[in-house]
């Protein structure tokens, strides 16, 4: 990516022009203009991204209850506290379980929808829109529908009505601390919201697979269906699949909205890392030191994931999408 950076404009112009104004692109001083364009952004980035990060690293070594300008240095005590207190490690377990459910299911469902929609010839745009539409809904609104209508724990809830037809007893979907029912609620919610989004990515990738590959396979006698899917479609989608899986992982890591609204912060189960941070820094204890230490730990963990992602994707989109 570093091969094509910033020299575009300054390349020698066609002969006559370069005679008149040698080695100059647009009029004006490049250094001044560079800072004119990037200055506002860089100042904002420094104040609202870099300063908070440095500040929180500093805070994480202090006893900072109810204050953001502490004076009592305590070394690694905040880190010890959050790592030994069971809440924080538990939240990482919650994330792991959640990711184990949501990543494969979203991958499979969005790929499946993309394959279906890609084969449609009539009403293709309509169906694509239908699957994509839930992306517009916030996690809060979806949590509300899931909790108060579909998976309401009382008789009138949709899920309980349906299982009632088969003679099953009502289930307390989200308020029962023993898995698996609350996972069903959480995972279906996120599936509904995000599958359409990843379907769009897969659709774009599917349309970039050269049709010659399928033609060649047909000549070689490959059966349509599973064989072409397994040996052509799937390998051709590898870059997109990798990107999707990493994006799903990072999104699951930051899960907060639906857990907060479905399960609640007072519950002892299904607390995600961000919920634990929220409680320690902004709950009753207002412990900015511990909260900052948690933010540092989570940041380091996700940096590792992003570095792996950077290895795979070169910090952005793969070459397959164009």
């Amino acid at each position: 990516m570093s091969t094509t950076t910033t020299r575009g404009v300054a390349q020698p112009a066609p002969a006559k022009a370069s005679q008149a104004r040698p080695r100059r692109g647009l009029r004006g001083n490049a250094t001044f203009n560079f800072w004119l364009f990037t200055g506002p952004f860089l100042i904002g980035l420094a104040i609202f991204v870099f300063v908070p990060i440095v500040w929180s690293i500093w805070l994480s070594f202090f006893d900072a209850r109810y204050t953001v300008t502490p004076s009592h240095f305590i070394g690694f005590d905040n880190y010890k506290q959050i790592l030994t207190n069971s809440e924080f490690p538990d939240s990482l377990v919650t994330f792991t379980v959640f990711a184990a459910f949501i990543v494969p299911t979203t991958w499979a469902l969005s790929l499946g929808l993309a394959l279906l929609v890609n084969r449609l010839r009539f009403m293709r745009a309509f169906f694509r829109s239908v699957f994509f539409l839930p992306t517009a809904v916030s996690y809060v609104a979806a949590a509300l529908i899931w909790k108060m209508s579909i998976f309401s724990g009382v008789r009138f809830g949709l899920a309980n009505t349906v299982i009632g037809w088969f003679g099953a007893d009502t289930v307390a979907w989200v308020s029962n601390p023993t898995p698996p029912w609350y996972w069903l609620v959480i995972v279906t919610l996120r599936l509904w919201i995000q599958s359409g989004f990843y379907m769009i990515l897969f659709l774009a990738a599917l349309q970039n697979i050269p049709t010659e590959l399928y033609e060649a396979a047909a000549i070689d006698g490959a059966k349509k269906g599973w064989q072409t899917f397994r040996y052509i479609t799937l390998p051709q989608l590898r870059a997109t699949s990798t990107a999707v899986v990493l994006l799903l992982l990072i999104a699951a890591y930051q899960a907060f909205d639906e857990f907060f609204n479905l399960i609640g912060q007072k519950a002892t189960w299904a607390q995600t890392p961000l919920m634990v941070l929220y409680k320690s820094a902004l709950g009753t204890s207002q412990d900015y030191g511990a909260g900052s230490a948690g933010a540092v730990v989570l940041s380091v963990l996700i940096c590792l994931v992003t570095l792996v992602q950077g290895k795979f994707m070169g910090f952005g989109r793969g070459d397959e999408s164009k």
């Binding site: 009029r27 004006g28 609202f48 509300l144 990515l201």
Partner: protein, 288 residues
């Protein structure tokens, strides 16, 4: 570019006939129905009485209580109208601010031959490693010491400086045709003039795509407004919904009417701007 090659399509049609296609459409149709159920539930419950929602007998159609709308806006416990206005202001200003700041920076990084531009670019890239949601505690510490809690400034400004959006603009401008800028050069324009008169007017599709994505994520954002909006007067609509849900007295019909109204603006955005949205997602990969 269209779908799979016509040849393959024909072969498939011959091989599978009407039956295969019917199966395909049934599968897609069932999936689509499942995806639409939650929307149906919102509308049905929003226009029902509480008794219809919680009653024993499931009714497919509600009794269309349009009065629920005015009842919601008159409800004294949560100022829903105020929260809608807050959300609208925050989402619109965030979108314009992000586009302005990030596109300028993206252009500067992509096109202005400054010798340290690469170093600056790597500093921006470094911020992509940590998602902003993970650093909300330090951001809150900063914003609260600026005294921006419960203000529009606090809700909007910290979110404007998105390294990712800047990165997307840079990638886009790298591919912007140089010939157009050369025309600007012939006209004697500087970088600033060329940017506003040539580059921006010729990039409106890309701006629209990023604007749509930014607007949606600003409207639906929950964690940051929750942290900043401590007083009800600064709640966005997502916080109001969340509060409705946890209130002691549960008015089902009002809650669902609030949900329906909170989703409505985005449904419009989707219906009218979907082209740019899909294009934007396919082009840029991701946001968010």
């Amino acid at each position: 570019m269209t779908t799979t090659a016509p040849q393959i399509g024909k072969q498939r049609k011959k091989g599978r006939g009407v039956l295969g296609n019917t199966g395909l459409y049934i599968a897609v149709g069932v999936a689509a129905l499942l995806f639409l159920i939650p929307f149906y539930l919102i509308v049905r419950n929003a226009l029902s009485t509480d008794l219809e929602i919680t009653g024993e007998n499931w009714k497919v159609l509600p009794s269309f209580q349009w009065g629920n709308i005015s009842e919601l806006f008159d409800d004294p416990t949560v100022d829903f109208g105020r929260s809608m206005i807050n959300s609208l202001l925050v989402a619109v200003l965030t979108t314009f601010g992000t586009l302005l700041v990030c596109s300028l920076a993206g252009y500067g990084l992509a096109r202005i031959p400054y010798k340290h531009a690469n170093k600056v670019f790597y500093a921006v890239l470094a911020t992509l490693m940590v998602p902003t949601a993970v650093t909300f505690v330090p951001s809150f510490v900063l914003v609260s010491s600026l005294g921006w809690v419960d203000t529009y400034r606090g809700l909007i400004i910290p979110g404007l400086f998105s390294g990712f959006t800047c990165f997307l603009f840079r990638q886009y401008f790298l591919g912007f045709p140089k010939e157009l800028e050369e025309a600007a050069r012939v006209d004697g324009l500087g970088y600033w003039g060329a940017y506003w008169r040539i580059v921006v007017p010729n990039s409106l599709n890309f701006f629209a795509a990023i604007a749509t994505i930014t607007f949606i994520s600003a409207w639906n954002s929950f964690l940051w407004p929750l942290v900043i909006g401590q007083d009800p007067s600064s709640w966005t609509v997502q916080i109001a919904l969340s509060t409705f849900m946890t209130n002691q007295t549960v008015n089902f019909h009002l809650i669902f009417m609030a949900t329906a109204i909170s989703i409505l603006p985005l449904i419009f955005v989707f219906l009218f701007l979907q082209r740019w949205l899909v294009q934007g997602i396919a082009q840029t990969g991701i946001k968010g």
